[in-house]
């Protein structure tokens, strides 16, 4: 990094040297090799101030403290300060509007968009000690043109959850979300992913890059089946309420939703459709021009540890890219197929990816909701 080079060329005073020795010695005791290098970089580059993190609700001091506890321990003077992102569109708008964040966490489908936007810079994976334990397929998905723009963290599947005591699917297919027999008992996800799912159901070759004609077909399918939908859910607690109260019997859902409904004593099945589920992966991205790049690396390293990974799986029910971690719940282990490192790729699932015409997809989904 450019700042490091400049700093090292400075003439050192005795005081500087003593301080440096103390800091690196201390860090060396706790964090090992890369911790030493990192602590030294941080001190030399004098990265000050609190680390500005733009993250989803539930990952800050509102419940996610365990994910970055290790970072807070080693960097007490640079505790993270959180701004919420409602979703990637919200983060994009905030960044464009001038929010000075150091890092944020979009999902895998946005990696290429942000990598080419000029808003982010690649990570230096040598500074992340836990990087070697991260799932290689997810790591690859965070790369663009050979550079590591995204560090994978949480992940899961999009598939169908249904009540086996109320619903008899005709086929293991995404079509269950469009089944006329269950009018008013279906919940979709409030996201352009519904267009991707429509595309998979209609058999399009590349549902992330549909032609105009294909998009119109997908939109038409969704509009024609909208009358079956009780609600388009956007937060998991919404879904749990809908499903738990019996208002809805069939829903687009993530693995943890199956685990939670099972815990409520409902007879539920988590169905991987034959057209294949979609897998999603959260990606930490480093914003360009951040004054605290080394601190950001330290934060992501804390998130990537096996301890944080296990906490995430146990408490939020998402998978974690750290392949060493295993949740306590055997149900979740099964639902996430955690013993299969290839779970997020073909032939098991389609890993979510860049949508070149995302703005158009978004507009078409908004029109589905408006019609």
């Amino acid at each position: 990094m450019p700042e490091e080079k400049d700093v090292l060329e400075r003439r050192f005073s005795r005081e500087d040297l003593l301080k440096l020795a103390a800091v690196t010695g201390g860090a060396g005791l706790f964090a090992g090799q890369s911790g030493l290098a990192r602590a030294a970089s941080v001190h030399l580059a004098k990265e000050t101030g609190r680390l500005q993190v733009l993250d989803w609700a539930g990952y800050g001091n509102d419940g996610g403290q365990s994910m970055f506890a290790q970072y807070v321990k080693t960097h007490p003077k640079n505790k993270p300060q959180f701004t919420y992102m409602g979703n990637e569109a919200d983060a994009l708008a905030k960044i464009h509007a001038g929010l000075k964040a150091d890092l944020f966490r979009p999902y895998v489908g946005w990696v290429k968009y942000f990598a080419t936007s000029g808003l982010v810079q690649p990570w230096d994976t040598k500074l992340i000690s836990n990087f070697k334990n991260l799932n290689p397929f997810m790591v690859k998905a965070g790369q663009y043109q050979g550079k590591q723009y995204g560090i994978p963290d949480d992940w899961g599947f999009d598939a169908i959850l249904y009540r086996s005591d109320k619903v008899k699917p005709k086929a293991k297919s995404w079509g269950l979300l469009f089944d006329e027999r269950y009018k008013g008992k279906i919940a979709w996800f409030d996201d352009i992913e519904m267009l991707e799912i429509a595309g998979l159901y209609l058999g399009f070759k590349d549902t992330w890059n549909q032609t105009d004609d294909q998009l119109k077909q997908s939109q038409k399918l969704l509009i024609s089946k909208k009358h079956l939908v009780r609600k388009n859910w956007s937060s998991e607690t919404d879904l749990w309420q809908l499903f738990g109260s019996g208002d809805v019997w069939i829903a687009y859902a993530w693995p943890n939703d199956w685990v939670q409904m099972k815990k409520k004593g409902l007879k539920v099945v988590y169905m991987h459709p034959k057209e294949k589920p979609i897998a999603w992966v959260g990606m930490f991205m480093l914003l360009k021009g951040t004054p605290r790049p080394n601190l950001a690396h330290a934060y992501v390293d804390a998130w990537s540890s096996a301890k944080s990974a296990r906490w995430l799986e146990d408490n939020y029910g998402y998978g974690h890219a750290n392949t060493v971690a295993r949740p306590s719940s055997s149900d979740l282990l099964r639902a996430l197929q955690l013993t299969n490192p290839r779970a997020v790729t073909l032939p098991n699932a389609y890993l979510d990816r860049d949508i070149p015409r995302r703005a158009l997809y978004a507009k078409m989904w908004e029109q589905v909701k408006a019609s």
Binding site: D90, H96, D190, I192, S245, K363, W365, Q367, A370
Partner: protein, 293 residues
């Protein structure tokens, strides 16, 4: 004669007093609206790059089958809600104002007491009442009107739920202007009417109702305008079916992919319609003078 400079004493009281509120309105109301309008013409944009004044987004808004239809849907929902609760609120306000009850103001307080609680909690309470396993459906199962397993599903997450909850939220608001206009009714007019031989019903139709019309108009506008752009209640209890115009505006700004241009078009359109309506209806809000022949 030496010219004397006369000191002109300007009365600066009114301009000074008005100055601050006007400045406030300009800075925090007019300017933001202008900025939103700029976004709708792509003069401002969220994304860097070349942008110039263009009517493209407006043209799309007008020609697309979706947006105006959604607006019309919201208009219909708001009209229905407003009309029904004005009709319901009138007797309430009438009793409070004209029955001569000593506990008038206590009852008024009871009427507006719900405002002292959280809006969100009140809306969420309806979820408990209207759901498939909610209070109403459980009651219907218990009385045998519906068999368990066949609840009325349209109660919650539907257009009906949105209109019901909006009506419930706004009823106290609506009663107030009607109450005020009935309160200020000159009772001697009613006495005069009965002296002239009018029955109670006739007096109501020919005297009370017309004189309370400004109050009714104000009440109607009071509820129609906010519910037209409503998005919180539809997002909580509306489901897929109860989606309203305001929801589309919020979604265009906040989800999927930021489309501030289209969102601004929808927002400015709503603002324009509401302004026109307010101007038109304000004519009816002028107090009518009763001519004595």
């Amino acid at each position: 004669m030496a010219a004397r400079r006369e000191r002109v004493r300007l009365d600066l009281t009114t301009p000074t007093l008005l100055g601050l509120p006007v400045a406030w309105l300009v800075v925090f109301f007019i300017v933001p609206i202008a900025i939103v309008a700029a976004y709708s013409f792509d003069v401002y944009s969220l994304f860097p790059g070349t942008h110039g004044f263009t009517l493209a987004a407006w043209r799309e808004f007008v020609h697309s089958p979706v947006y105006l239809a959604l607006f019309w849907k919201s208009v219909k929902m708001s009209l229905t809600v407003s009309a029904i609760i004005v009709v319901l609120a009138y007797p309430l306000a009438y009793y409070l104002a004209l029955s001569g009850t000593k506990r008038k103001y206590v009852l008024l307080l009871v009427l507006i007491a719900p405002f002292l609680t959280s809006y969100l909690l009140r809306v969420l309470a309806w979820k408990v009442i209207l759901g498939d396993q909610g209070v109403i459906n459980t009651f219907l199962f218990w009385t045998g009107v519906r068999s368990p397993g066949h609840p009325i599903s349209q109660l919650l997450y539907s257009r009906f739920a949105v209109m019901l909850v909006l009506g419930y939220i706004w009823l106290p608001f609506v009663a107030l202007p009607i109450f005020v206009s009935l309160e200020s009714l000159d009772r001697r007019l009613l006495e005069a009417a009965s002296d002239l031989g009018a029955s109670r019903l006739q007096a109501f139709r020919r005297v009370t109702l017309p004189l309370s019309l400004p109050g009714i108009m104000a009440a109607f506008l009071f509820v129609f305008i906010p519910t037209l752009g409503e998005f919180v209640t539809p997002s909580l209890v509306g489901g897929a079916n109860g989606y309203m115009y305001g929801n589309q505006i919020v979604d265009l700004f906040g989800t999927g992919f930021p489309d501030w241009e289209t969102g601004s078009v929808l927002a400015i359109f709503l603002f324009g319609i509401v302004t026109v309506l307010t101007v038109v209806f304000t004519r009816f809000l002028q107090p009518r003078r009763v001519a004595a022949d």
